[in-house]
């Protein structure tokens, strides 16, 4: 029997107070996610239960119980406090998927500070704009990433502390750097979690939009309510589950469901901190006897590419429940997983701003492969007319997805950017920026983005950000960036550029520009292809018409080009 039982029955009498009661939260009282993920589980008598089973490069293994997480997060919180860091200060986590990232996240929240996790593959410019926007006080990082921080340090007077978790003493520490070893530090048995309330800020995740700089999505401690309940009902985590969320906590899935969801339920979490290979993933599932696996379509399609024969070499019979997030899960992948694992991956739809799952498939509900499923109980969803933003009641008619902003994990604002936040609402609906339709059975079907943002491997990339970075390359005169279809990643970044006089548009230059963007922004943002043009399509007012290039890539009708500049 699944945790949710009957979806229809849950809809009848749903109230978020179900989760509040299970978590013993009294409205108006204290709610601290860090405490819920560690101290509370220990108080429930599960202190000796494994909380984190971690594997890294070279076969390294580490294991932490919930009591270890409690004490070590106390130790981190205390260390930060002694540095003078206080509630609501932003503390960035810029690390690979090492234990310090997971336990550090809990420690920051216990202190009442705001956790700002950033993807460790970000280049120095991507890192800088996000730290600058957040006016981050401290960054916790590793030796392998610290050079990126050092490169931009002069531009960040607000960044007071650079905390290295793996300092080995071989080279001297530099300006503002301090070593902290989670294992060797004097362990802090007792730390009183900061008395955060429902609306106290908790996590700041950055996401990309079509225009402008990345936006800091502000979440609050009350988000726990919907993260806990969606974990319980959709991921169906149960007491003895061994859970593997493959997402990196640099992104929202990695915190909402890679830390908060499972640990607030007292469930054992597995982490594999190595690069992707089908063999290593199957081996990990077999070895750790994973029962619940939450992954992404890009990874699933990569596994499909690796072939079915490989799967037969491993005993994956421990798997009892699978789910997917990041981009639409294509029907083929659902059907394939049923064939090879005996279980379908359940697609879940949500985004950084929503903080928790919105439209999803459920353990005991019929799956329609390729569909996003139905709204989570308590979520009021609709398809809206693109002009009037009125609800479309006709089934099968496409429109914009809209949600009534009334669930606990909804973002509270964009950090220092309230104006853009307000623009996300129309006619009382929150617009996530995607188009879809509803079928006659109430299932939602994804159609596409309603803007130019590129979804590559489940991560959003701003074309504006890449275009701006391209213009910083000495050879690039003009740039336009669009999504290009891709079998594995759904979309990848493609750039169109014109080159300045004196530069030759050849393969070597293409590679140089690709690497320039990879290092400056991130591997995700690196154009997988660069096409040289003599000129880019522009409106008469000089604005580059991305949609003309997008249509060319996708084999679509170009549409109205009456505003196109004459040659």
């Amino acid at each position: 029997m699944s945790n949710i039982g009957s979806y229809e029955k849950r809809l009848e009498d749903f109230d978020w107070s179900i989760a509040e009661k299970e978590l013993d939260y009294v409205p108006g009282g204290n709610i601290n996610i860090g405490w819920y993920c560690s101290d509370r589980i220990c108080e429930m008598g599960k202190g000796n239960k494994p909380a984190l089973l971690w594997e890294g490069l070279g076969g390294k293994e580490k294991q932490y119980t919930f009591n270890d997480v409690r004490v070590k997060s106390n130790t981190i919180a205390s260390f930060l406090q002694n540095l003078g860091i206080k509630n609501e200060d932003r503390v960035c986590l810029f690390m690979d998927k090492v234990p310090e990232l997971y336990i550090g996240f809990v420690g920051i929240l216990k202190l009442g500070a705001i956790a700002q996790p950033l993807f460790s593959a970000f280049g120095d410019e991507s890192l800088h704009v996000r730290l600058d926007n957040a006016q981050t006080t401290a960054i916790i990082t590793q030796r392998k990433h610290v050079s990126k921080v050092r490169k931009i340090l002069d531009q960040m007077p607000y960044l007071k502390h650079i905390i290295l978790v793996d300092y080995d003493g071989s080279k001297p520490l530099k300006e503002r750097e301090i070593a902290f070893n989670m294992e060797d530090a004097e362990q802090v048995e007792e730390f009183k979690s900061f008395a955060t309330k429902a609306e106290s800020p908790s996590v700041l995740h950055y996401t990309s939009g079509t225009t402008g700089q990345p936006k800091g999505v502000k979440h609050v401690h009350y988000s726990l309510i919907s993260q806990y309940l969606t974990t319980k009902w959709v991921l169906d985590l149960q007491e003895n589950d061994i859970y593997w969320c493959t997402a990196d906590p640099g992104w929202v899935t990695g915190t909402s469901y890679g830390i908060i969801g499972p640990w607030s339920m007292g469930v054992t979490l597995c982490v594999l901190d190595t690069g992707f290979s089908a063999e290593s993933w199957y081996k990990f599932i077999e070895k750790r006897k994973i029962t619940m696996w939450y992954s992404a379509p890009t990874a699933i399609r990569s596994l499909m590419k690796a072939g079915d024969e490989l799967i037969k070499q491993y005993n994956l019979s421990s798997l009892r429940h699978l789910a997917s997030v990041g981009e639409p899960l294509n029907a083929e992948a659902v059907i394939w997983s049923e064939k090879v694992f005996g279980k379908a991956f359940l697609d879940t739809y949500w985004q950084t701003e929503t903080g928790s799952m919105m439209l999803t498939n459920y353990p005991d509900m019929k799956i329609k492969p390729g569909s996003m499923g139905k709204p989570f109980p308590g979520i009021t969803a609709a398809i809206l007319d693109t002009e009037t933003f009125e609800e479309i009641t006709e089934t099968g008619k496409p429109g914009l997805i809209g949600f009534k902003p009334n669930w606990p994990a909804m973002m509270r604002t964009y950090w220092r950017n309230e104006e853009t936040y307000q623009k996300k609402f129309m006619n009382g609906w929150y617009l996530p920026g995607d188009r879809a339709y509803i079928d006659q059975d109430g299932y939602y079907w994804f159609i596409g983005r309603d803007d130019d943002v590129i979804n590559t491997g489940g991560h959003l990339v701003s074309p504006f950000e890449v275009e701006s970075a391209l213009l910083e390359h000495e050879a690039v005169a003009e740039s336009a960036v669009v999504a290009k279809p891709d079998d594995v990643n759904m979309e990848v970044v493609k750039a169109f550029v014109t080159v300045k006089p004196g530069f030759e548009a050849n393969d070597d230059l293409e590679l140089k520009i690709m690497n320039f963007i990879r290092k400056k922004l991130s591997p995700l943002a690196m154009p997988q292809e660069i096409e040289y043009k003599d000129s880019l399509p522009k409106t008469r007012s000089g604005k580059i018409m991305r949609r003309v290039l997008h249509a060319q890539e996708w084999g679509e009708e170009i549409g109205d080009i009456s505003t196109l500049e004459d040659d």
Binding site: G275, S277, E279, A306, D507, L511, P523, M526
Partner: protein, 80 residues
Amino acid sequence: MENMKEVILEYVIEEYCDEENDDVTFETPLISGGIVDSFSMVSLKRFLENKYKISIPDADASPENFDTVTKIEVLVKRFQ
């Protein structure tokens, strides 16, 4: 004539490593070791194609074939 493995190794260190993790050898796992991610693999593939005037089909540009400098050399020689 340049030693192919040396050239590839030098490029990998230059482009994908920094001073803190430059102890890469011919056998260091690049993809499964997290030094080169799947997105960055495209730029490494492009380097090999430009340098050795070859074309590597996407089907052969797998994480397994790119996992060490030694394996990359085998792959490149297959298409020379």
